[in-house]
Symmetry: D2
Subunit: 420 residues, 4 copies
């Protein structure tokens, strides 16, 4: 699979991820330990530039504090791996269970989401101790557990790693949002930048016919990528490249944010409520537009892909251009067959597919069944990956999803001409 | 097309609807006049049981006053037919333009939706005069316009008739909602009842293969039913009949409204916010459940189809049953091929298809392009028709749509087992 | 007492009000019947220009439908007079109890205030029947009850009459607000106007010393006017006349609505939230300002008293002028001693006194104790009366009260220089 | 003046406060420096037990982060003292001006109040540097400024000290509120407790007559305590002691929170909206009630004064007891004449006086005129001081004020029988 080269600020720590396939025998305990350590360290590496104050705040209900991400990912292993699979495991602090459960109703009551920023204790330092406690326990277990027990629990460990990587992405998008509330324009990493798009120009043709999308059984996938199923592709065309800031400025200059006929009704309501007149974080300066970035406030780079646009904006842009957003099936087939560039590592790409279950989808039983399935309404699918996505996390079949008004993620778009 | 037999309270006035095909030549002016009169009279017939007070109120932002429906449908003809196509037409009162435009941004500013109930003047009686003025003008024009001019404008007349029929349905659902706010349980029509379901038991099989859905070019269709396009049907099964109140009571008794694992996340939020514990209008009585109906408050009839359920409830019910809602394509094919019963005339049926554009859909230019296209986000498609749907309005290809939390329409469900 | 000559649109029906003193013996039954009839007829006279639709709507939570006022005042007699004092009285319709109780918690549950406009049945016509039923019952009782029983209940009858007069004022202010929501600017009475102020210019001096304010035991008074008590008057000055629109325009031209330093903090918040830039109902026209009135939209009359201003605006105006609003004691003493003009019949006058209990005040026991006492927080006292006040209702000691942001009443101001 | 002995957790640093009278000559520069240092050190002493995370959060709009209090009090000296009075003073960082202005409209735009918790930079440590910078500049200026310049600016320095002491109280009440949101019940100071009341039982009589209240010209006072003016005292009685938790439990057991007839209308609305069933921070435990305190969660002490009650609750309690709250004049005279105990150092005491201007009050010109005057609506006066009040801050004439629904301060009550 031609997964995207992650282009993070710092080099990540290496090749230990992804871990071996679940069915590989004998179990390569060292490889699993290395994968676990790789992921856990990356979280701490992302938190390292942040002060205890930075790690504390929740700048909106959609976002979470850095410290919460660090603790919640730890809770995930404690709750679902150690608690369920390691007899005699002793909780670090039983009171943390309530605080760091995110949304698993079946795992018990939890701190209301919008109150995550109110929890000053445990501190960032105490959170580090919590992480170390769980890291030790998992490592010991990986070395000492019986083969059979290990085999039963490895799927939980594996989902925990991918889960933590998802939160690694949110750590960056959430702190960017938090910093954007501060008139001082704080800097997360002065060397950071969103790379310019690399695509060749032009379009690719998608051929008519029945093909399959969804999880093919190799490697890891979340449950929402299953079952693999037939889809009918109509003839269509898809752009090799992403929409850039240069393109977006043309849309703005043509009155894109002032012409209701270009917008979905709900989108126009959102535009008026939020006062949108440009992508998220953009600000009009004396000499052009600036945008807030992880390196602080910077001039908008015309060659970089448009980012921090909502689905509503992406849809309005496509209507203005007389074009369409691709469906998620079109995107997946195009990416699989090498028909598009910049699929990974820059910005997630909105599709025009509402997020719903694949035909015959059933969530897994128990609390982990809440992972994806219960969010299958009112959201849209995004494909690809972004500059903030962890190394080894991106996949052709990956289904990301957000509400159509949300734009604090690294979200952009590529255009298509709908099949017929 | 096996269109649904509408089962309205009173017999409607007859066979004058639908009008002749648009391309029929010579133009049968009498038939068009009869169709126009039929539709316009049905609106007044539905308003007749209501006092001026009843016609005044707007009981929530989603609903509109009866009087507003009567005036807005009239404005539609005045704005798009007489104003644009009848030279020298004199507006009844130019100030009504602002009041009775609904959501056509390109037709100018308008009374905010949530303020529709604030307009006491024109009164119900003055609204009747407005209707008579426009009726006369349209009738004269239908008799006297030159053939060519008539031919150009007939598509507008036709859409105006279907538009008014849509509002006829809303008149009933909106007044039911308004009456449900009144502890006196007012009666719209004492003879009214939601008929019991007529379906045979059992399921039908849907065969795998490529087929087409959407508007086939015969008769009338809204723009959102085009273009007709290929779809891949997977093997699936669909129930012949609707879910009934008896079924729904079993869901309730099994804790359906108290088990979050059965619900979409947004649905559970809606349930808690609204305090749902039964379908809309249901109330727990000493000896069972009652529901508010157009005949006043009545005991729940176990044999009647479940009605006034939101998409969230329909989805939770399906999950509880280990089943699926059908896609809109599955529904359309099943209805077309006679594989289901009670498709029309009882309750609209939620599908699991998010409301979006058919591949290649483009709205028509101008204000009428706002009719359907701009609502294509965050809503779900319903198929069939309801007991409140006007005679001649239902079609196999008809795409109705509402937000997943809404339940003041006559909305129910049938189950399927998703294709694979 | 130099009570204000009410200047209503139509002449009221005469001299039958107020009724005889409660302790007059023998009880003059005819006089009580005449007073009752006078008040009840005035309510109907005020409703007469209004269509059933006009009488239906509630244009904001603070206002109530005309029909509701007609029914609620009737319920008051039914609940507190007939129900409690006339053995064997048969309720017109027991279901109305819930609908037309306003805020008497001890009289049982009631229709939520903001839902008063949702009640289309009983209709305006049925409400007239309700009124007639109660009118008959009260009249018969006034003729036939034993002297002793009558004497016990006359205080309730008397408060019911004054209560109904309060609602007569609200009927006019509420319909004015409702009509102001309608772009058609409906007319309640084409001959209506707010009279120009009649005051002589200049100020009166208030002398230092101890005096008494509050109910002196003669005639009727609400419980909040008791107990009569000593107050210390400081030396002060008070204007003979009211602030006029001409004055107010000078305030506006001097940036009155744009200078936060002139405003209370809560007032500035209200100004920004509501978008105030002029008194209520004012609108900028090509050639000056218009205001909505009971005679429809009219040019602002510079000589008329400023009206529809909130306490916050009155306070800001006084600060701008380097002056003060009077206290309620200053106002009462000045009115009693003839030191001011236009005290009655034009606009209520904001005082700088927060509405609270007089020293030693205790509400009467039972539901009628909720009449005034429970509102003694967060409101300000207004004194005098307005053009909408019923004939015979105004008194020197009358304590009206509203929240400081409210301005749909006929509320204005006169200035003073605070005592010291 | 028998000012209250502050009973803070730790001993404060001594006798250097208050500073010398403003008109003392020669100016005792050392005494002023000592007073300045005393106040500034007390702020840091109160912040010392708190982690950077604790200092970061704003747990509701009414509260502010510890760090913000530390920075805002510093800004106050920088803005009003150094900026206006020390030529050539160089701002620590000009961007902080926007962040740490609280509500001084005339001092320019500022960070919205509800967003104070979003500012992670400057960090707590950088805030310490800001404080040190300003401390040095003020100390140097106090040593080196010319006598005349110093004399002109000392009133600003003095108000700045009292201003900072006000924020010292808020630092404790705000962190208590923040900690109360955390299920872990964090501890600010394990040795802290609210002392038991010390009062003798019984009542004192207040004699009828004219007396004066307000600032008598000696020592410091805020502008809202002027002008001193005559008031008429009616005969009344006032309790020597405070209402205790034991008293409050009796109120609760008698249905105090369930009987609307005991409550102001706005108070009952607040009770229902907030779900009040006990004072703030109380929680029902298996064996009685606990309350959140600065020492963590503790059993309710029956002998301690009732605290964290709103005005609405205090008012309902008084009504239940058939008693009154005192007016602020009654309180001031009683405290001045030694007629009450526990006036200071336990809990602020609600009076029944709405917060308004004393007769003839005019705020000082300029931004400092916004200090008190613009809040004179919708709030109630509290008198005395609390366990959290800084040493040397309490005064007989002190007018504290809060909205009637607020209860996160150390607010309690004493009862009276209103004068007549």
């Amino acid at each position: 699979m031609a997964a995207g080269a992650a282009r993070l600020t710092h080099p990540e720590s290496g090749a230990a991820f992804p871990p071996p396939p679940l069915d590989a025998r004998p179990i390569d305990r060292d490889a699993w330990i290395a994968a676990f350590r790789t992921v856990r360290e990356e979280t701490e590496r992302r938190a390292a530039p942040l002060s205890p104050e930075d790690q504390q705040i929740q700048s909106m209900e959609d976002a979470s504090p850095t410290k919460w991400h660090r603790a919640h990912t730890t809770w995930f292993f404690e709750q679902f791996l150690l608690g369920d699979h390691q007899p005699g495991y002793r909780l670090f602090d039983e009171r943390l269970h309530y605080l760091f459960n995110s949304y698993y109703v079946q795992a018990g009551p939890r701190q209301p989401r919008f109150m995550r920023g109110m929890i000053t204790r445990p501190t960032a330092q105490e959170t580090a101790a919590y992480r170390a406690h769980v890291d030790r326990a998992v490592s010991v277990w990986l070395r000492e557990a019986a083969d059979e027990a290990l085999a039963r629990a490895l799927p939980i460990l594996e989902i925990g790693l991918y889960h933590e990587q998802q939160h690694q992405e949110l750590m960056l998008t959430d702190i960017l949002h938090a910093f954007a509330q501060n008139p001082l324009d704080p800097v997360y990493d002065a060397r950071w930048s969103l790379p310019a798009a690399q695509a060749s120009a032009g379009q690719s043709a998608l051929k008519r016919g029945i093909t399959q999308i969804g999880y093919d059984g190799h490697g890891f996938a979340f449950d929402n990528e299953s079952p693999r199923h037939d889809v009918l592709m109509l003839e269509a065309r898809i752009d090799r490249g992403l929409v850039t800031n240069r393109d977006w400025l043309a849309f703005m200059e043509d009155g894109g944010y002032a012409r209701p006929e270009l917008w979905l009704n709900d989108g126009w309501v959102a535009l008026q409520r939020e006062g949108w007149e440009a992508p998220g974080y953009w600000r009009r300066e004396a000499d052009g537009w600036s945008t807030m970035s992880l390196a602080g406030r910077k001039p908008v780079d015309p060659a970089a892909p448009a980012a921090h646009v909502s689905y509503y904006e992406a849809d309005a842009y496509a209507r203005w251009a007389g074009r369409d957003l691709p469906t998620e099936a079109e995107w997946e087939v195009a990416a699989r067959d090498g028909l598009i560039d910049d699929a990974f590592g820059l910005v997630w790409q909105w599709t025009r597919s509402a997020y719903g279950p694949y035909p015959g989808y059933r969530p897994v039983p128990g609390a982990l069944g809440e992972y994806n399935g219960k969010f299958m309404s009112n959201q849209y699918v995004l494909r690809g990956s972004s500059v903030a996505t962890a190394q080894g996390h991106a996949r052709v079949g990956y289904r990301n999803f957000f509400y159509p008004h949300q734009r604090w993620q690294f979200t952009g778009l590529r255009l298509a001409d709908a099949g017929s």
